[in-house]
């Protein structure tokens, strides 16, 4: 399957051309944001950066300060389902075009992807070094008061690989695999 190259910020037409199963290679800016960031945005705090057309990466990286420079030591995805109560709103309010994480998300996010034009992209969970290898620079950080894993890190990536598992057409690989595996395991029940 061909790999689709994406450069952030991304426009709506490009996002709507993606489908479940597509492999994407992302270059440009990624902003990390996980539990505490989503909770704070939900409480009405304005984001410290313009998220329009951008991608939020569900990730709590290992960061070490070397001199006055932050260096990313490991940066794989964290489980996305915890952001399910908030993600749809963050997509709607701030014009995010993509979410990267692992494990997929639910109906609210899937509906928001269809309505506002966004996709969910699955990085390989646990593969923190492969992900970190495509992070070329750490350009900044916001909301460090949340603690390093929960802060908004501004990452500059080249050819960050992920697989589209929820698209803007209402399709979710996670829903398909869950339903099929539930049926198969029911048939195998002791």
């Amino acid at each position: 399957m061909a790999t689709v190259k994406l450069t952030t910020p991304i426009d709506e037409a490009t996002i709507r051309s993606l489908h479940v199963g597509d492999t994407v290679s992302i270059s440009g800016r990624l902003y990390t944001g996980r539990d505490a960031v989503h909770h704070r945005l939900h409480e009405g705090v304005k984001p410290p950066v313009d998220l329009k057309g951008q991608i939020i990466y569900h990730c709590g990286p290992v960061m070490v300060k070397e001199g006055d420079r932050w260096v990313c030591k490991a940066a794989g995805p964290t489980t996305s389902s915890r952001e399910e109560p908030y993600q749809w709103e963050v997509i709607r309010n701030f014009g995010i075009r993509g979410v990267i994480g692992k494990g997929g998300m639910g109906e609210k996010t899937l509906n928001a992807c269809r309505e506002y034009g966004a996709v969910y992209m699955h990085a390989i969970g646990g593969a923190a070094q492969v992900c970190a290898a495509s992070i070329k620079r750490v350009d900044g950080v916001d909301w460090m008061d949340l603690g390093s894993p929960e802060a908004i890190w501004h990452l500059w990536v080249e050819e960050f690989m992920a697989i589209v598992t929820m698209d803007a057409h209402g399709q979710s690989l996670h829903k398909q695999v869950f339903e099929e595996s539930k049926r198969k395991l029911a048939a195998l029940k002791a």
Binding site: M1, G21, T23, A36, C59, G60, P61, V62, V64, K73, A74, A75, G76, T78, T79, S81, K102, G103, G104, H122, I124, G125, G126, A127, A128, Q129, V130, A132, A133, L146, G147, S148, P149, E150, M161, I163, T165, L173, H174, Q176, V177, F178, E180, S181, K182, K184, L185, L188, K189, A190
Partner: protein, 303 residues
Amino acid sequence: MTASAPIRDISAQPALFQTILELIRRTSTQLPDDVVRAVTAARKEEAEGSNADVALNVIGCNIGLARENSLPLCQDTGTILFYVHTPVGYDQIEFEEIATQAVREATKVGYLRQNSVDSITGKNTGDNTGPGSPVFHFMQWRKPHVEVKLMLKGGGCENMNAQYSLPHPDLGGRDLKGVENAILDAVLQAQGQGCGPGILGVCIGGDRATGYSYAKEQLLRTMDDTNDDPLLADLESRVVDKANQSGIGPMGFGGRTTLLACKIGKQNRLPASFFVSVAYMCWAYRRRGVTVDMAGNAGEWLY
């Protein structure tokens, strides 16, 4: 263990400090050989070019990169679980203090992420210490040396642990069938969330706390060992076989490898209780060990 306890100067035990620091480094950055073999074998099962194949290929690259560059396999360096056997009369308090200092140092240099957060205020202590972190399980034995095993269990997989109380209306009664159905339900629910292919540690029986604890201890076994109890050995292979027919696959992308192994132990229970506790471990199955002499020097590296 509390963070406010006075911490002994590491100069009291410089060799032990270095040994524990090296144990943390190896555990965070080098996947044990038995796990690497299982992950490598799994890739052969998947259709070439499938999403499952892509996932296992990336996992393989990641294992190599982490080892080569001495960096964490996964950014979630997890709950820090020490399992320590000590000779009778060994100073366990001092061990705990020195090991805690090694955890602080490992966090500073980036073998471990800042992973200990106040449960109410959300404040990160920044050095992986605090109430309940790191975790120490001490056991005495009559051997003349110390043995330290370390497991780093990430939050993604820890969140997918599950505990069932049998009988259960959908899963069955207090027998091996009920147990098997409960374990496979945990596999169904964990899909995608705990990074698959996974490894299960299971405890049948115990109370709610000891059940989970013993389930986790099953993960100290090696991937290719055989359970001494033939009934449990049989159940272990049946669970793996059925899980791998579910089609969940690596990362929940669909595919043939859902579980790499299942390790089951049992504890006696009360007549009124029947718990099945399932500890889900991700493919980044970080557990290592080392024997330590009385001067704190590393002896044999385990796994």
